[in-house]
Amino acid sequence: MMRLEDYAHDAIACIRCANCKWIDQNYTRSSRFSRICPINVRYGFDAYSGGGLLTIARAMLEGRLKFHPTLLEVVYRCTLCGACDVRCKRNLDIEVLLTIEALRAKVVQEGHGPLGPHKAITQKIKETGNRYGIPNKKRLAWMSEGSLPEKKGEILYFVGCNSSFVQTEIARSTIKILRASNISFTVSPEEWCCGQLLISTGQEEVALEVLEHNITAIEASGATTVVTSCAECYQTFKVKYPRLLEKKTEDMPFKIWHITEFISKLVKEGALKFHGQTDVKVTYHDPCHLGRLSEPWRPWHGIFEKFRIPKPPREMRRGTFGIYEQPREILKNIPGLEIIEMERNREQTWCCGAGGGVKETFGDFALWAAQERLEEAKLTGAEMIITCCPWCEENLRDAMRSINTGIKVYDIVQLVANAI
């Protein structure tokens, strides 16, 4: 279980340099898009920033700040996008994001959190195994009767709640791609919500139940590889599950792939070819969970010796090895398609605003963050914004209803499915 006390060193080590609020200066291209922390831009107060939250954590650890209702609002408005974490770790060794997550875990452990809408979703997951409260037997309803894959297989497609129940075209496109590549795969009717929202809102005990169920279901399917088209599910399996189990990612009983990694490999190997001509300008939105937050988990149980030197060495996840290039390589291979980058891209991406349980609780803020992204996308001259996270897509589309940018949002698998 996460304990705030385990991050005391990080809370104290923050020097309040404010880098957590700005994109990497080497990549700053304009004043307009120079900032990276959505909560800080929107709410202004330092409490809404990586450095501010670390200082709050320190105040709590030092007994200067007791629980106060505002704490819930402050810690749960953060989208946990990890921008602050990556920016801080360019220069320093501070676990900014984990400390924020530990703050959330603390408020849950003390019985104050999470917030009402989170609790409602938790209840739905407990009752039905998905975030929407729909009977879980309908999870595979998007597949036509005759097209159900084998019940067992080495590769399992983990569909995720959103693509199973809401944006089912993502799931359909994904299996079209897998089949076109002659990949034998299975899906599990026993799939439950991955639990990203539970873990990110600090509800680790419930999350462990979900984790155990999903791992059992995967093992029962005989799969040794899990492929998902959802960036959140991907990060949950690759990072959050190992964290809860205190294991390295490599020590999990299966390998996890995002569909873009998979497609990129298939294209390189010649197993998947694109046809036709799609003359369109697109821009690619890096989902936080696929990009800067997706590096493998490395547990660390150590101490800080004199002069604050960690023993054993503490390996930091700095966002360097996220999935950035594979989606771009796929897009570049689609004939006629031109990619134009937004100013904030890859590990410097601007969060769409949906993550960390924010969309469910602070919907107006989530939409505002997405509108910011749409404006940035529009300025590139692109006609489409492509991403590979159903939650990003949903939030970006919702935002589009309030501002007319003329830009369209698609999942990468939809483009690929069209091009094969």
């Binding site: 080497n26 120079s34 360019r90 002069f307």
Partner: protein, 514 residues
């Protein structure tokens, strides 16, 4: 006494409910920082409320409210909390990050910045126009206005001089709430010129280290921009290994080693004398080890650093020179030839650096100094001549040997020096990576360093200016007089600028009869 309800209500009416807060959580988040725990965090408390003004008029009103209710206040801009923090009860934190105005006059080469504009964003905007501005060592995230007003030293300070030399017309809310405009803005709403009419009040901003928030709030400042070479600087890499690819025919970095430290200093004098180069600094091996450890973590740093013997060979110290062909490619060719002649004269070995810049142009990252142990104790900071820097370096080695175990192993590294204003001054910095639990020993070390600084004749920055006597430095006397007139109740960022919270009392440093 609790914060007056009427004052809070007035602030709320002024900026709107969403832009002011007295919530303990919101206030706790701006309780200074941990920067060098023993140093800048001293005596810091949470402010009683945080207010986010959008306009100069709002700032003025806030200051007037503070005066009306006798409430201390301090300004902060990009929120790099170093010197601006609450240290008294009922303090108002004026957070200026909503003040995001930025206008660039390309033809006349100046930019008008409000306080929330960062150095990196100004750099990005002016670069598009073929111009250049200085980004301070503390990083591109720092505010242009704050750093220009308080000597935000930068790598290019060698070529372009102190930041205050680029202050043009300025808008300033005094501690009593009065609004003044300096330079051309005082006559007409145009910001192109910094001087007059009458006495040049920029001296009050500038002083020795600036007024550090102790004389009100600067809300808008025009800063002079400089011409730059026309080729683009292309960003490359993924964090933490991000850099700018530099045009090789226009910009070059050189790393030079010399047989002795003295020869390195003499060579820097000569480089400065010949007026070549855009940045010249003497970089200790410690910094190179920090740079090599980027992305690997502190443990990796210590593993490599500990392989060195007790004494670092000071000839490992590198003189790093950046040459820029501002006017033409030929300028770069000329400067390179001159540099090589100087290096040969002082028996140095020159090596051209990679055509990349990680940390000089837009991302100067002195923040990495904290990487070694997560903090540092009061450093030796000397603004004097290059010779004084060298003397201080020698002294530091001797002093630090007595504190083995209190200080982390530094292998007697000589510190960091850079040439300022074409060699006319030097900035010398030595960071003590101390055991912060052993406060008593560190305080003793600090005192010894100060006493020694005085004997050496160097000026220890961030210490009581009266240590060297009024003949050397009398700015603080003038400022005290002005403070009495404009801030009679000492409300503007107390106790600054009169003294800094961590100042060692002069009578402790210099005993009677010394």
């Amino acid at each position: 006494m609790s914060f007056p309800k009427e004052a809070y209500q007035a602030l709320k009416s002024l900026v709107g409910e969403e832009n002011v807060s007295d919530d303990p959580v919101i206030c706790a988040a701006v309780r200074g920082g941990a920067a060098g725990i023993n140093v800048w965090d001293k005596d810091v408390v949470s402010p009683a409320c945080v207010v986010l003004p959008k306009t100069t008029g709002e700032v003025q009103e806030i200051v007037l409210i503070a005066n009306r209710y006798r409430l201390p206040f301090y300004p902060t801009s990009s929120s790099m909390h170093v010197l601006a923090s609450a240290r008294l009860p009922n303090t108002i934190a004026i957070d200026l990050k909503r003040m995001r105005g930025l206008e660039i006059d390309e033809e006349n080469m100046f930019a008008i910045c409000e306080s929330g504009i960062s150095s990196a964003e100004l750099f990005a905007e002016v670069l598009k126009r073929g111009l250049w501005c200085m980004v301070p060592w503390c990083g591109g995230q720092a505010s242009v206005v704050a750093n220009t007003a308080v000597h935000g030293t930068a790598p290019s300070i060698y070529r372009f001089g102190f930041p205050h030399r680029r202050i043009l017309a300025t808008e300033w809310v005094l501690p009593n709430g009065e609004l003044i405009n300096l330079g051309s803005a005082s006559l007409f709403r145009d910001y192109f010129w910094g001087e007059g009419p009458g006495p040049d009040l920029r001296g009050i901003l500038r002083g020795t280290l600036g007024h550090l928030g102790g004389m009100g709030v600067v809300t808008k400042m025009a800063v002079k921009l400089l011409p730059f070479q026309p080729e683009p600087l292309e960003p490359i890499g993924i964090s933490p290994h991000t850099a700018l690819k530099i045009p090789e025919k226009r910009i070059k970095f050189f790393n030079i080693t010399f047989p002795t430290y003295e020869k390195a200093v003499d060579a820097v004098y000569e480089i400065s004398h010949c007026e070549i180069g855009a940045m010249v600094m003497i970089i200790p091996s410690l910094f190179r080890y920090v740079a090599k450890s980027r992305g690997k973590g502190t443990a990796a740093f210590w593993e490599e650093w500990n392989k060195l013997g007790e004494w670092v060979d000071w000839t490992n110290t590198v003189v790093r020179v950046c040459l820029i062909g501002f006017t033409s490619e030929k300028q770069l060719i000329y400067e390179e030839e001159v540099l090589k002649e100087i290096v040969a004269e002082f028996e140095g070995k020159i090596r051209e650096g990679r055509p990349l810049d990680e940390s000089q142009f837009t991302s100067p990252d002195a923040i990495c100094s904290f990487f070694v142990t997560g903090t540092f104790h009061p450093p030796t900071l000397v603004f004097d001549s290059l010779d004084a820097g060298l003397k201080t370096a020698r002294r530091n080695v001797e002093l630090r040997r007595k504190y083995k175990g209190v200080l982390a192993e530094d292998h007697s590294y000589p510190g960091w020096t850079f040439s300022v204003e074409l060699g006319h001054m030097c900035y010398y910095e030595f960071l003590c990576y101390g055991d912060i639990e052993d406060k008593e020993s560190l305080a003793k070390l600090e005192l010894e360093i100060l006493q020694s600084d005085i004997k050496l004749g160097g000026w220890p920055m961030f210490q009581d200016p009266s240590l060297l006597g009024p003949a050397w430095l009398n700015y603080h006397h003038h400022l005290r007089g002005l403070k009495e007139i404009f801030d009679p109740h000492t409300l503007s960022n107390p106790p600054l600028p009169e003294r800094l919270p961590w100042n060692v009392p002069p009578e402790t440093v210099i005993k009677k009869g010394d």
